[in-house]
């Protein structure tokens, strides 16, 4: 397996969906290729980073609502016959 194939199989490897035979070749390549090991670490890091950066529970997401949006929603609600 070359670096090119390894990059293609990365997602299935990370999610545990890579068939056993491919996984063997994948892991063998990893033991020999420092660059692909680093790529794997960074690929997994990005998945984690995305999740952590957008965590709804984190307090830093904008909590402020633009005032005109508040007014628009409340005005639209009053005009909404079905609410």
């Amino acid at each position: 397996m070359r670096c090119r194939e390894l990059a293609e199989f990365l997602m299935d490897y990370v999610s545990g969906e890579l068939p056993a035979e491919n996984r063997e070749h994948f892991e063998l390549h990893l033991t020999r290729c420092r660059n692909c090991r680093e790529y794997l670490v960074q690929y997994e890091g990005c998945v984690k980073a995305g999740r952590m950066a957008c965590d709804e529970q984190s307090d830093e997401l904008p909590l402020d609502v633009p005032e005109d949006l508040v007014k628009a929603v409340l005005a639209a609600r009053k005009l909404d016959p079905s609410s």
Binding site: C3, N35, Y43, R77
Partner: protein, 213 residues
Amino acid sequence: MGSATPVDDETGLIAQLRAGDESAYEQVVRTYGGRLLAVTRRILDAEEDARDVVQDAFLNAFRNVDRFEGNSKLSTWLHRIAVNAALMKLRTRKRKPEQSIETLLPSFLDDGHHEERFRSWEEPVDIAMERAETRQLVRAKIDELPESYRTVLVLRDIEGLDTEETAKMLGLTANAAKIRLHRARQALRTLLAPHLAGPASAKVRETPGGKLS
């Protein structure tokens, strides 16, 4: 700007909504509006679309508050309505031609090796993500992804939907959704790496694109 205050008594708030209490509607919009806007902005490029969708989501929620069963949190329920509304908007809107993702994908030499030598990140991602500025950076880079890739990444890696659900919501085959997710993650890595990498060592600089394995 109205700022959010935590809701101590969600059950009470929902009862007020059901009773049509004006102040309860306002409290809900002020409490959850900012977060919903953050969610819809992540899916939609245009600020106007993101705001329209938040408005639609609130109206939809107010209309259907009787159907809110209370086995999830109000915030979770609103969040789901907003995501659905954003995806609906995405489907009905004319698609703009988008920037190609190719330049953000890894490139390979003829012999199948990576062209680039990847510099290790300065610290493990868990540690880096403890800093608000890094989290901000990651959000900004997600926003830079071409829309059709960003949407898949948001639904899969952030909203936590599975491949089938994501594919269905976007009108894609499962395989197409998988390919887009993989490309989106690779592109995000390309965008983040220069900011997270440690200082280049002399050795690395001497051998750009050198064979490594």
